[in-house]
């Protein structure tokens, strides 16, 4: 698969993963997603796959996005590698801020072997799901995010909607899940693994590598070839992914309006 085709499909896959369970519609040469279940979850309420460079269409898109989303930091635009550069330029003129996300891709084999003694289980039952939620809350603490009970509920309802297309897995140690990751085969030959977290007390034990190996295999068994994963540009896991054989493919930027005091 040539790099340009790979980039195009990776953009579709990254957007498709976020769009699970959301209302999705096309307008002004872009795709909109909205979630009634998770109205304050950012990635479930944004504009992506923007494909116009026409100044008039960009103006119409911006106006329509403003009327389509409510709340602070809205509307949000996820501009990918194929979004014409005029769009970001227009949003910057408008005073939007941005955050960067690095997407890296695995085309061949993973350059690591999963430790055989790590117990990986798929999240299937309500009990599994509750254990996943408990671990997810530790992630929130680790990120120093303020716990917002309403958003927590939204997240779990939203993520469960991604099943069964996305498979969630946990790595168990000492009788409890200590790390998680999800896998999705995609719809165009490129799969995605997403939401990797390891409990801070259980890092450097091979849990993340084992989960990546399982999730890559899962997505490929279900039809994916290349597998993409997103990471914050300033975060450290990107180096681990690269060491496992993933290579840098593109940087997506999420643009959001300045917070009004």
């Amino acid at each position: 698969m040539a790099d340009r085709d790979l980039v195009r499909r990776a953009c579709e896959t990254a957007f498709g993963f976020a769009a699970f369970g959301c209302e999705r519609f096309e307008a002004h040469a872009a795709a909109f997603i909205r979630s009634e279940i998770a109205p304050t979850r950012h990635d479930a309420n944004h504009v992506g796959l923007v494909r116009t460079s026409d100044a008039d269409v960009i103006e119409a898109l911006l106006a329509y996005a403003r009327s389509s989303y409510e709340g602070p930091n809205r509307p949000r635009f996820n501009l990918d590698a194929l979004t014409p550069p005029q769009v970001a330029a227009r949003l910057i003129l408008e005073g939007f801020n941005s955050e960067e996300f690095l997407y890296i891709i695995l085309e061949g084999n993973l350059q690591a072997r999963s430790k055989p003694d790590i117990n990986i289980r798929e999240v299937t039952t309500d009990a599994d799901w509750q254990a996943y939620i408990d671990l997810d809350l530790i992630w929130w603490q680790d990120l120093a995010w303020t716990r917002d009970a309403n958003l927590v509920e939204q997240n779990y309802a939203f993520e469960r909607l991604e099943m069964p297309a996305a498979h969630y897995r946990c790595a168990y140690v000492d009788g409890a899940p200590r790390a998680f990751l999800s896998a999705w085969p995609g719809e165009n030959g490129i799969g995605m693994i997403e939401y990797l977290f390891t409990h801070p007390d259980y890092r450097h034990r091979g849990l993340a590598t084992a989960l990546i190996a399982h999730c890559v295999a899962d997505a490929r068994e279900r039809g994916a070839g290349p597998i993409v994963i997103g990471t914050e540009v300033g975060d450290t896991p990107k180096q681990m992914y690269a060491a496992l054989g993933f290579r840098p493919l593109m940087v997506n930027r999420v643009y959001f309006p300045p917070v009004v005091a």
């Binding site: 980039v7 005029q86 180096q239 840098p248 493919l249």
Partner: protein, 267 residues
Amino acid sequence: MNESDLLSRACETIAGYQALGNQRFEAHGATFLRNAATPRRQDVNSVVLIRGESQAEIEALLQRAETEYAGFGHRRFEVDALTPAPVGARLALEGGFKVEDVLVLVLEGALQTAPGEVEIREVSSEADWAAYRRLDELWWRESNTAYFGPYDPDLHAEMARSFRAKSPAVRSWFAWADGGARAYLSSWSGENGVGMVEDLSTEKEYRHHSLATALIAHCVAEARKGGAGPVLISADVNDTPKRMYAALGFRPLFVNRAYRRLIEQPP
């Protein structure tokens, strides 16, 4: 000129402006700019117009940059509107780079203003250049200590030398008031039909006197006299002039990203 052609020419014009007065060569699907006489001027010691997209090309480019800029205090790579996505991703993976975004706007039609009566003079004599340097120092002290550090006369001299090496292709202009130079801007007609006006600054006490608007009008006209149609102007993404440029009829075209890393020099 269609939009895709405009973007391509705009990227070439920005790189071409940087290249004026400096060594320029192509390697590994990119253009290398270098000037060993002005090693601390980072934009003229930089890799631009990066178009290679294979992993092998990108790795070779990064290695070549290490060779070409050995001994320099920085590495700088520009990711423009046409740089393939894997390049920015590879630099992001590398880490250690500060990303500086510059908004590039373009004026295709007429300027949406009628400039007032402001005296515009070309910067030509040594006395003019001394006056230019005075304003430039004010600009550094007011706006750019975060980028350049505290005012440094030696570095300023190096920057000024580098800038003057662009003339006569680039012409610099003053807005004159109260018997002195109060604002400056430069014009370049470009080499492909897209011109550029660059380096606008107005002395603090003389802002909101329409000096900047008058300079923009003059420089756009000069660039067009020399053959340019569309004319570019750059703005700091976080700064206010971008709105003034938009009000004058410039429209946002793309964001030019400079990935810049400082290299610690051995004592």
